[in-house]
Symmetry: C2
Subunit: 300 residues, 2 copies
């Protein structure tokens, strides 16, 4: 089985140097994700040479508009979705299956049921109960880690800052970002505080964070003056705000007020170009990992 | 399905009054567990009258010495344990199955595999990946919550202190206590910090806790002077320490230094007589809940 350590990038040696300037070092998701994709390309080539013509397979199952890959109409019933998932589960050429949420169907579909119908061996989104259970209880070796927290963790590793023993603060407790991010930081031995909409003293909690990961979905809610001097700040937010100076009349901002936070943070991810591109790379990483596990089983 | 609210005890009205004294109110697990057991007795009687002779069924599967119920010899193989679990899974008269850990067999047995072989519908210990996954991601309605954290939560509720918006600190991240306790406090809307052996500033972290739950397994490690004035202190520890004044030469203490902590805490559980008896009551609670779900399915 692949250990968590195996996840870590080959580019450690090129990691950022501790900044001596008072302005934060920008953690580029674009740059880091490119390195990951290049490494994955080599791993896929290696698999193809060892097992003639073998390719990792990924299926994206989506209901409704703007579909790619398996596209089911928005008249699809729950039974039809489940049946489609079962076919993919049984297809030995596919190593990953992600179900695009929300399921945009005219029929009533139980999202939890659908998410958990995906074989835990092919659940490269890491959203099934089984993978969530393993991650939350520290069994990281044979589970799939959701792509956004996995991306955040890789970006944190890129800074060279040690996670063990640090105080990490996560804002948000969603299934896709906050909750698995807590788990990943905890099992990398940080002391972790999870904050959310009911936290009354957010500025104070943020002020204690050596490592801050924000997945709150609120534009620029974390103010620079809250941030601890020298902290690692990872911003998962993607928010559209009005901007009359732009031709489109809007721009994309994160959940962190970037210009003020970058004055205090040691390291900070930009939005866009931070967590986003790394998340896509991590989906590829999980699919390649799944294909590798599949080949390992063939060899036994 | 039974909601988390339905878990809460019928004795809310008899809850403790906010202490005006400087010494902590003792949260009695003995007293509270007795009330739970009496309520469960009535619920079982109700089920028996509605479905003639029906009884909630629980199986305890144990390998090695001091076995009760299903006792497998310590020469048992993994396949035999799994076969035994499958029989119980398929037995419609059984609504709960717990596997005593560690599995004390001369043969090599994969504990994770065995824990996850228990049907998630009968996993009243709440230790399978599926139940852990649901709890960790906030799907509390149809999962089983591990008995010790469930017991702690009931004892906290008994104090009348509101959990939402409070800062809770959990010491320990075990599958049985710390990790699910974090989840339960988080989804009851506390801001939760998880501390563990790698936490460098434990006294400081403890000092911020409105609610403190300790499951560290180290005798009296939490000192009274660390505790925040008025905090709710829940002690899951059971440690045997030498005591020459006792005929047995030893006594049982918790993970909290009780005499000093009770001078600062608002509410505190004693050891013994705190979390322990409530944990046993919660196993009964989960089994009754499982039997009720079973009956609900019959009615559909």
């Amino acid at each position: 089985m692949l250990s968590l350590a195996a996840h870590s990038l080959c580019v450690r040696a090129t990691g950022y140097q501790q900044s001596l300037r008072s302005i934060a070092t920008v953690i580029s998701g674009n740059k880091t994700s490119k390195i990951v994709r290049e490494r994955l390309k080599k791993e896929v080539e290696k698999m193809a040479s060892q097992f003639s013509g073998f390719r990792p397979g990924l299926v994206v199952l989506q209901v409704g508009i703007e579909a790619k890959h398996i596209r089911l109409p928005n008249t699809t019933t729950q039974d039809e979705v489940l049946h489609s998932i079962m076919s993919v589960n049984e297809n030995a050429c596919v190593h990953g299956l992600i179900v695009q949420l929300p399921l945009d169907s005219a029929n009533c579909i139980d999202t939890e049921l659908v998410t958990n119908a995906v074989s835990s061996q092919k659940d490269v989104d890491g959203l099934s109960c089984i993978n969530a259970g393993k991650l939350s209880r520290g069994d990281l070796n044979d589970c799939f880690i959701p792509c956004t927290p996995n991306a955040c963790m890789e970006l944190i590793r890129q800074t060279g800052v040690f996670v063990a023993g640090k105080h990490a603060v996560v804002i948000g407790r969603s299934k896709i970002v906050g909750a698995p991010m807590h788990d990943l930081l905890l099992w990398n031995h940080a002391t972790v505080t999870t904050c959310h909409s009911k936290t009354p003293d957010l500025p104070e909690q943020v002020g204690r964070a050596d490592i801050l990961v924000v997945g709150a979905g609120r534009a620029e809610m974390v103010r620079g003056e809250w941030v601890k001097e020298g902290a690692v700040v990872i911003d998962c937010g993607i928010n559209h705000v009005p901007d009359e100076t732009r031709p489109s009349g809007k721009r994309v901002v994160g959940d962190v007020h970037y210009s003020s936070a970058s004055q205090r943070a040691g390291y900070i991810t930009p939005v866009p170009g931070g967590v986003g591109p790394m998340t896509v790379a991590m989906l590829m990483e999980n699919t390649v990992q799944s294909a590798q596990r599949f080949l390992l089983k063939l060899r036994r």
